[in-house]
């Protein structure tokens, strides 16, 4: 099975550039080792671009036509994009077993290292040295989170009403102390209604088109 070693590392292998659904044979071990690596090197920002480079450009396990719908899907659904992408890519390569292997190898190494750091904190976290180190780390974590507010806001704000939506969401959590699922159930209908598909430059009183059941025949 794994006798032939594919070496698609050179740029123009076998003539054609990224062709659609080139059904490559990928072993579970290869999936596991890639997602172990991604799990141990991923730290927030820019991971999706990084995964795309690994899986599409370098290893050529998927074409862009196969990868991009997966990215669109995981951005829309709840959960971290890396986690969703590992499930999507694993499934694409090896079915449900591939998904499981990709997810497990993505999470297992960080799980072990995080637990180890946790125990270190519980045993030594109350010393003066640890307090001094943690003061810096938490302040930097705060700056990191704040930068995510700017990044997310830059993508989100397309008009004044988006600012209103951000502030409503913030207030419901901060001042009304509602849980996140409740807040989403309250704000999402309003937000989706505001961003509903609109026919260009037509009387806004028109009903929005019902595109729910457009099945191709």
């Amino acid at each position: 099975m794994s006798g032939e070693a594919p070496h698609p590392d050179r740029e123009e292998v076998a003539g054609s550039s990224p062709s659609t659904s080139l059904r490559v044979k990928v072993s579970l071990l290869e999936i596991a080792s890639l997602f172990c690596f991604i799990g141990l090197t991923s730290f927030g920002g820019g991971i999706t671009a990084y995964i795309r480079r690994m899986v599409v450009t370098q290893k050529r396990w998927l074409s862009d036509e196969e990868f991009m719908p997966g990215l669109g899907l995981v951005q829309l659904l709840p959960g971290a994009n890396v986690v969703g992408l590992s499930v999507y890519i694993g499934n694409h390569l090896k079915g449900p077993v591939g998904s499981l292997v990709a997810l497990a190898s993505l999470l297992a190494p960080p799980f072990v290292s995080t637990c180890a750091l946790g125990f270190l904190y519980f045993h030594a976290g109350h010393t003066a040295d640890a307090h001094a180190v943690l003061a810096g780390v938490t302040a930097a974590a705060c700056g990191l989170m704040a930068s995510m507010v700017f990044e997310a806001g830059g993508e989100a704000i397309k008009g004044a009403f988006d600012v209103v939506l951000i502030l409503i969401t913030f207030a419901l959590v901060r001042f009304a102390h509602l849980h996140v699922p409740t807040v989403i159930l309250i704000v999402a209908p309003l937000a989706i209604w505001w961003h509903r598909p609109r026919p260009p430059k037509v009387n806004p009183k028109l009903k929005t088109p019902d595109t729910g059941g457009s099945t191709p025949s």
């Binding site: 971290a80 302040a139 507010v149 699922p181």
Partner: protein
């Protein structure tokens, strides 16, 4: 002990399916539940554990592992690791199952104009939730002039340079140790 494990499973599986825009978004609820409702840890411990998880490798929401670990720590080391495992699986498995099955009808849905409506609706909501999460972290972590300066410098570095966040947090810890010890 069983009660704590059930609480962890219930809390994180519901948050797993609400994490639109990534795990950071549910941090306010995680904080409210583990500090306010279940009293698993103090506010300071929550912020410490969150920061440690940010500085460690892995997807952004590995703080759930640490919350599970701390919640079950009173029952011994083995149970603490079990708690960490339960919390981690509860956070990552439900959303993964959703991705797995959603892939099947995605082909029919991805051309719909509503896809962009939902995407555009999610973005401001997740921004508001990340803002609320940042607020929680800031209230505890920024408590003096030096920490305020470090927070602002970290923000500027993240926005305007391509510095690796882990490297930056490590450096902040080192600088803080040298000067605040």
């Amino acid at each position: 002990m069983n009660k704590t494990l059930l609480q962890l499973a219930g809390l994180f599986s519901s948050l797993s399916l609400s994490a639109f825009g990534g795990g950071k978004v549910v941090l306010p609820s995680m904080h409210q539940a583990s500090v306010g409702e279940y009293h698993w840890m103090t506010n300071q411990e929550f912020v410490d554990l969150f920061s440690i998880s940010m500085a460690a490798p892995g997807p952004s929401m590995m703080v759930v592992t640490l919350v599970g670990l701390k919640a079950c720590l009173p029952y011994g080391t083995a149970i603490a690791i079990l708690g960490a495992l339960v919390a981690t699986l509860a956070m990552f498995v439900p959303s993964s199952i959703l991705v797995y099955f959603a892939g099947n009808w995605w082909d029919h849905w991805k051309e719909s104009p509503w896809r962009h409506s939902v995407m555009n609706a999610i973005l401001p909501i997740s921004t508001g939730l990340i803002l609320a999460a940042t607020w929680i972290i800031a209230k505890t972590s920024i408590h003096s002039l030096p920490t305020a300066i470090m927070g602002v410098v970290a923000l500027i570095l993240m926005l305007f340079t391509k510095i690796n966040p882990v490297l930056m947090m490590g450096a902040a810890g080192l600088i803080s140790w040298v000067f605040l010890r």
